[in-house]
Each structure stands twice: as structure tokens, then as C-alpha cells.
Amino acid sequence: MEASPEDFFTPAVPLDFVYNYRVGTYIERYLEGFKEKKILASRCGDCGKVAVPPRMYCGPCNGRMEELLEVSQQGSLENFTIGHVLLEKGAVKAAPSPYMLGLIKLDGADSLLLARVEGVNAGAGALGMRVRAVWKDEVGGDYNDLDHFEPA
């Protein structure tokens, strides 16, 4: 069924879907903790797993994680990638300069936290390096209050 472009209409569709997501009770408290520069996690009463950021459920136990606790602001860099691009609404753009994203195991937590990392060279020795949280000067309970991690 060969067709030519003039067989089609190519309309612009002036309709954008707007969403208003509730963050839920656990992320709400996590962000409230940022106001005091605290990193909160949730602990599973069954298996004892500590998840950061906190969430309602422990998947393997299918149990509510009722307990919220503060975890350390220091941890180790377990995995990382150097980004050379940025994705904005799906579009790939060159990054102004390469940047590091790390998966960090905070002391006292069992899950890894994805964050920007500064001041670490990507060579040998990066994996396992001790890092610590760096906060924005002014914190207000916003996602970006916890700015990045740097060598401890």
C-alpha cells in the first residue's frame, strides 16, 4: 500500500496533558527532612531493609515500612556513569561539560541513591570512594536541596 505524503494530513495538535501528581506521604516527609538537611529513609519491619528515599512498601516482604529514620550523609560510591548529554523531554542535547552521576550507598541504608557527584575522577579508585552530601546554601524542602556528593 504505497502512499504519498499528500495522502495524509499532518495536523498540529494544540492539546497538552497537564498532570498534578501527589507525592504521597513518604516523599512528603523526605522533603520535609531536607528543610533540616536530614536524609530520611524507611525501614522494613520484617527484613530490616532500609530504603532511601523512603517509600511505603517493601516489595520482597510485601509489608508496610512503618518506621522512618535518618541515615548518614556519608557513604560509598558504588557505581557511576559520566554523562556527555542531557535529555530534555526526550530530546538529546550535548551537555555543557561531562558530569558524573553516581549510585551511592549511604551508611545505614541498603539501597543506592542516584545523585550528581563532583570532584571525583572517573579512573581507578573511583568505585568504593567515600563521598558526602553537599547541600544548597538555602534549603526549603525542595528536591534539589541535596545538591550533589563530593569526596569525604
Binding site: 494530513f9 495536523p11 498540529a12 495538535v13 494544540p14 492539546l15 497538552d16 496533558f17 497537564v18 498532570y19 498534578n20 501528581y21 501527589r22 507525592v23 504521597g24 506521604t25 513518604y26 516523599i27 517509600r55 511505603m56 512498601y57 517493601c58 516489595g59 520482597p60 510485601n62
Partner: protein, 410 residues
């Protein structure tokens, strides 16, 4: 083929217009917890899961992925089903085939919608907007004042064509739509999981609500709700080991048609009130369930009615009464909770509409009536066999499920 039954049901504590406390997985988990609590079962008893919703309504693509940890899905096969308004019942049907095939014994179905997180009108317009915009290029007047411009107000507009066609061909009047809406709002007042409730609704109070697009009034239209529903289905052998009460599934069927009143670019070949897929699916479901005369054999009906005239229209299309007879049953009081032919004792979709759950709740409500567990909205007559109806797409998908109080004889 193996017998399959519903062995457990769970709901979120409420179905309301806005759940302002929880996020999407947190809300769904409430219904999963409720279902496990009601049955005394645990995730280890469940072999596989089926998940359904309309994901453009809350803007999370395939939300079972994000919700997996919250619904005890890890390590299980999970199949995501989406067929528009009929999603909830399409998901039940998928679970049915998981078991009837012999592949699995116990399957959990999880359906939800959290419509407060998106704009439901935009969500519905999103079905046809590219086509409308193409017509704009062809010279359509979107203000609707001339030419082919009369796309009278989104989904209510297309529905108005259906309602008018139904009234003209059945002999019913707009006062019957008012009466049907009032009956369902009164029923909803008895159902703790209903959203729009009005114990004192009458045809007269509904008639006071403004006309949106003749013959559809504001009082005929469903709300948008937040809520989740969960059900567990099992094979006959497994059900006997796990629970004491089962609502059996005897026959299921579904049918698709052309997108009525929407695909204007290529011409619409169906009367939006004809609902041929409903007639075909009902016939198929009756055949599979061994039902010869639905009027006599079906004790209770739950109909997917986003708009109140659809209760009457679909009763006729399902063969529960003759064409032109439904409004007479309404006038005679036969459709009431204590009536001869009770329908939508739950309050129907017109009272509660978290879309992903809407068609599924028709099945779970039939199951509750069969088990005698519907509480204040339990119908007066004994329910041995019940029919659940689902409807979706652009007026073109129909699903039918026949439930019963005993397993089907082979």
C-alpha cells in the same frame, strides 16, 4: 475447560474525586491489602497478576512498573491490559484465560484510576484530537456554528447523539433518563464504595440540572473518581483449598466495532445506539454459559453506564428485555433494589467512575450480590446468576461476563 471463579475482592476504602494524601502506588496498595485481608490469602498464594488502567489519565506510562513493589508483584508474571472504559473487565477476562488455559491456578487482577492527577476532559479529547485537527485543516469550523463543525462538546456531544437515537427508536423520553439517574444515585447512597450519592434523588431533582447537550443533562453524567479495585480468581480445584465462597464465571465474551461518532474522517457506519458489539458479545456469552433465555435466567445485572440512558439502552441490547421495554420496567419499579429485575444496585458507573475500575466493579458487584455480601445494597431477590457488562473505546468495545453461584457443569 476448567471452571474459574472469583475468590476474593478488595477496594480502596473510598472512591472520591480527589485522594489528596497518597500517590498512585500507595493508593493501589490499599486495595491489594484489603483483598488479602478479606480473603486471608497472602502473595505466595498468587501465581500471576493482571493490571489495568488508562494511563494517559494520570500520566504514568505502564504504571504497574512503578507500582510493582507496592502490589506484591515482584517475581510474578504481570500482564497489563488496556481497552479504554472496558479495561477493568478486559483484565478480568485476561485473568480468566490465565487460569482456563491451565497455565496458572490463582491470578490477582489490579485495576485503578487516579483521575484527579490529570484532566479527564483532555484525556477523553485525546482520543480524537488529531483527527479533529486534520478536519480543521480541511476547513472545519471548530466553533461549531457551520459546516461539519458541530462536535458538540467532547464526549458528552458524541453521547448525546447516542442518547437521542436511543430515545427516538425506543419510545422512551428524557424523563426516563432522569428517573434512571435518580434511581442509581439513590442506590449509590447505600454503597460505601460509591462516589456520587443522593438518597433523596428523584426524576424531578435530576430534571432540575442543566441540559448540556440535549438530551444529556448534568445529572445524567458520571463523575471522575480516584480509586482501585482488586480481585483474585482461581481454578475450581485451587478455590476449594483456599476459600469457602466463590462466585463462578460461566461465560465471557467481548466484541469490538468501528469507532462510532469519532472517525469522521473516514465515515461512520454505525448508529451509536445500535451497539452491535453488545448484541454479539451477549449472544456469545450466553452460548458459553448455556443460557437460553436471559430474561428468565439472569437475576441481576450490572451495566457500564457512563451516562444514565445507557442503563436502559444496554438492558435492551443485552436481551434482558425487548427493545422499547426498558423504560416501562423503570416506570413499574422493576429495576429498583427490591424490584423484579434489579440493575446497578451499586449505583453504577454514573455514580462512581475511576475508569480503570469501572468495568471491573461491574463484575465484583455481581460477585458480591451472588455471595450475598453486598451489605446495604444487597438486592431483595435471590441472585443465582448475574450479568456484568463493560463498555469502552470510542463507543465500540463491549465486554460481558456471566457469573453464577455454582460451578458450571461440563
Amino acid at each position: 475447560m476448567r471452571n474459574v471463579g472469583i475468590i476474593g475482592i478488595g477496594y480502596t476504602p473510598v472512591f472520591v474525586s480527589k485522594r489528596k494524601d497518597v500517590n498512585i502506588p500507595e493508593m493501589i496498595s490499599e486495595a491489594v491489602e484489603n483483598c488479602y485481608a478479606n480473603t486471608g490469602l497472602a502473595p505466595k498464594d498468587v501465581d500471576a497478576m493482571v493490571f489495568g488502567n488508562m494511563h494517559t489519565f494520570e500520566g504514568v506510562n505502564m504504571p504497574h512498573l512503578w507500582a510493582a513493589d507496592h502490589i506484591a508483584a515482584l517475581g510474578k508474571p504481570v500482564m497489563r491490559i488496556a481497552t479504554g472504559g472496558s479495561t477493568g473487565m478486559s483484565a478480568i477476562h485476561a485473568a480468566y484465560y490465565h487460569i482456563a488455559s491451565g497455565m496458572h491456578d490463582v491470578v490477582m487482577v489490579v485495576c485503578f484510576e487516579k483521575q484527579s492527577e490529570g484532566d479527564s476532559q483532555v484525556g477523553l479529547m485525546g482520543i480524537v484530537t488529531p483527527e479533529l485537527m486534520a478536519m480543521l485543516q480541511a476547513g472545519i469550523d471548530v466553533s461549531g456554528s457551520s459546516g461539519m463543525g458541530a462536535i458538540a462538546g467532547g464526549s458528552a456531544g458524541a453521547i448525546a447523539f447516542q442518547a437521542c437515537s436511543y430515545l427516538a427508536r425506543s419510545g422512551a423520553g428524557i424523563e426516563h433518563i432522569d428517573g434512571m439517574a435518580a434511581l442509581e444515585r439513590r442506590n449509590a447512597a447505600k454503597n460505601p464504595y460509591a462516589h456520587l450519592k443522593d438518597a433523596n434523588a428523584t426524576a424531578a431533582t435530576i430534571a432540575e440540572t442543566p441540559l448540556i447537550s440535549y438530551p444529556i443533562r448534568f445529572g445524567h453524567i458520571c463523575p471522575t473518581s480516584d480509586g482501585a479495585t482488586v480481585a483474585i480468581l482461581a481454578s475450581e480445584e485451587k478455590a476449594a483449598k483456599l476459600v469457602d465462597e466463590v462466585a463462578w464465571i460461566h461465560g465471557i465474551a467481548n466484541c469490538a466495532s468501528d469507532a462510532s461518532a469519532g472517525n469522521i474522517l473516514e465515515g461512520v457506519i454505525t448508529d451509536p445506539a445500535e451497539q452491535m458489539p453488545c448484541q454479539i458479545a451477549a449472544k456469545q456469552a450466553y452460548k458459553r454459559a448455556g443460557i437460553e433465555d436471559p430474561k428468565k435466567e439472569i437475576d441481576y445485572v450490572e451495566i457500564y453506564n457512563g451516562f444514565a440512558h445507557q442503563t436502559l439502552m444496554f438492558l435492551e441490547k443485552l436481551g434482558m428485555c425487548e427493545v422499547g421495554e426498558a423504560h416501562k420496567l423503570l416506570d413499574a419499579g422493576d429495576l429498583e433494589i427490591n424490584g423484579r429485575c434489579p440493575v446497578n444496585a451499586s449505583g453504577g458507573v454514573v455514580s462512581t467512575n475511576a475508569i480503570g475500575t469501572s468495568a471491573m466493579n461491574r463484575v465484583t458487584e455481581c460477585a458480591l450480590q451472588i455471595l450475598g455480601r453486598a451489605g446495604e445494597h444487597q438486592v431483595e431477590k435471590d441472585v443465582h446468576k448475574a450479568l456484568a457488562h463493560g463498555w469502552g473505546g470510542l463507543m465500540q468495545y463491549v465486554t460481558v461476563t456471566i457469573l453464577a453461584d455454582a460451578p458450571q457443569k461440563s
